[in-house]
């Protein structure tokens, strides 16, 4: 199991918006763990809000590559309501996109 502290990764800011950092976290930390079928915990403690672009850069590839079953091993920790809502929006359109593709 790997826990990733978003607040620390983005330079101790409470607004997670830098999608380039999101991409780095995804490529260097999230995807290698998921490839090994290991659990990944994204810890949003101290994050007040996250932009749609940031959340998309973190989680779109895992959903695209592994489908929604990845949500059994990719968990979201200590999210406030605003962060939760943004995650739900992004996951919603990503899952719809997968459904469209499948057809």
């Amino acid at each position: 199991m790997k826990e990733i502290n978003i607040y620390e990764r983005i330079g101790e800011k409470d607004f997670a918006e830098n999608k380039d950092i999101g991409k780095r976290i995804r490529i260097e930390e999230i995807m290698p763990e998921l490839e090994k079928n290991n659990k990944v915990v994204l810890n949003f403690d101290k994050i007040d809000r996250a932009s749609q672009s940031f959340i998309h850069s973190l989680i779109s590839d895992p959903i695209r590559q592994y489908g929604d079953n990845v949500l059994d091993i990719m968990l979201f920790k200590s999210c406030n309501d605003k962060v939760k809502e943004m995650i739900k929006i992004v996951l919603g359109y990503l899952q719809d996109a997968i459904d469209k593709k499948d057809g």
Partner: protein, 317 residues
């Protein structure tokens, strides 16, 4: 190129100002000013700043500064950005609480740093400051990622006490929306490209549903939605195309996926702007709760669904 700054140009009445822009002779820039006074939206400043960066400083001519407007252009950092002399010495005051001078942002890290630094400058309520940070983040990242401009994004903002409104302008002289969106779509005109770019889920990086690993085509839709829910103006201008979200009049504002279903004006006949300009107003008196905005946006995505299959829920621990 020629640009005339009138005594007033805000988003509500910006159309004549934009129509008067003359993009011919791109090696020089002649700026004329209303001789008495000028009061303009930060979009105007960002536009002039972005244009000026494409011209050698010695080929920029600004009417001799007169009246109070001169102080405004100096204090908003126009001369500094363009590396030209204003010919007069003006006492500059600290900008806290009133404005964010023109800033050129060329990298992702510069943008992140700017967002962190600018929030305290506006002295607004923390919730509202964060909404402003959100807008600048999404608009700035759009420029850095899609515009391919060596000059990056030029932005500035100002707080207007009387209307209790923050106005933001961001400009680039990059590829423009049509070229970017047409990497994956087929917009025939600049206005058609703007129309597509404002839809949720349409990005120039792919025609596949859900976007790519880095892009979902949602950023501009989110920004337009913030303006819409707050009953504020939002303007986007690229190539010959121009779209203006008009302030909503009804108490109950409905978000639409199709920007042409919102109360708006548009044109595909404006002088050609090489790149993209975006302007937005945020009235602090009526800024809706951020969570309310997210609820409304989620409803739009839900309405666009073609399937009734339920989503797998994320595990929040």
């Amino acid at each position: 190129m020629k640009i005339h700054v009138p005594n007033s140009a805000f988003l509500g009445n910006i159309d004549p100002f934009l129509k008067g822009f003359d993009p011919t002779d791109p090696d020089s820039l002649h700026i004329t000013l209303n001789p008495h006074w000028t009061s303009v939206h930060p979009l105007v400043l960002s536009m002039i700043g972005a244009l000026g960066l494409t011209v050698k400083p010695e080929n920029i001519h600004i009417d001799k500064l007169v009246a109070r407007s001169s102080h405004y252009f100096v204090r908003m950092g126009l001369y500094k950005l363009l590396n030209i002399s204003c010919g007069t010495v003006i006492q500059e005051h600290a900008p806290e609480g009133r404005f964010i001078p023109l800033k050129q942002v060329r990298t992702s890290d510069e943008l992140a740093e700017f967002i962190t630094e600018m929030i305290p400058l506006l002295h607004s309520d923390p919730e509202q400051s964060k909404t402003i940070g959100y807008i600048i983040s999404e608009l700035g990242r759009n420029v850095l990622e899609h515009a391919s401009s060596q000059h990056g994004a030029i932005l500035c903002a100002q707080f207007y006490v009387k209307s209790n409104t923050i106005r933001i302008g961001i400009a680039d002289v990059g590829l423009g929306i049509k070229k970017t969106i047409n990497e994956s779509h087929d917009a025939k005109t600049d206005l058609e490209a703007i129309h597509l770019a404002l839809w949720p889920g349409i990005t120039g990086t792919t025609s596949a549903p859900g976007g790519t690993a880095q892009n979902a085509g949602a950023g501009l839709f989110f920004i337009k939605s913030i303006a819409n829910l707050n009953k504020d103006f939002f303007v986007i201008y690229s190539g010959n195309g121009f779209y203006k979200l008009l302030a909503q009049k009804s108490d109950k504002v409905k978000l639409n996926a199709d920007p042409f279903e919102d109360r708006h004006s548009k044109s595909d006949q404006l002088p050609y702007w090489q790149g993209t300009l975006v302007g937005i107003d945020i009235s602090l008196d009526q800024t809706r709760e951020y969570s309310e905005l997210l609820d409304a946006i989620r409803d739009i995505y839900y309405a666009l669904r073609k399937t009734k299959k339920s989503h797998k829920r994320p595990k929040f621990i």
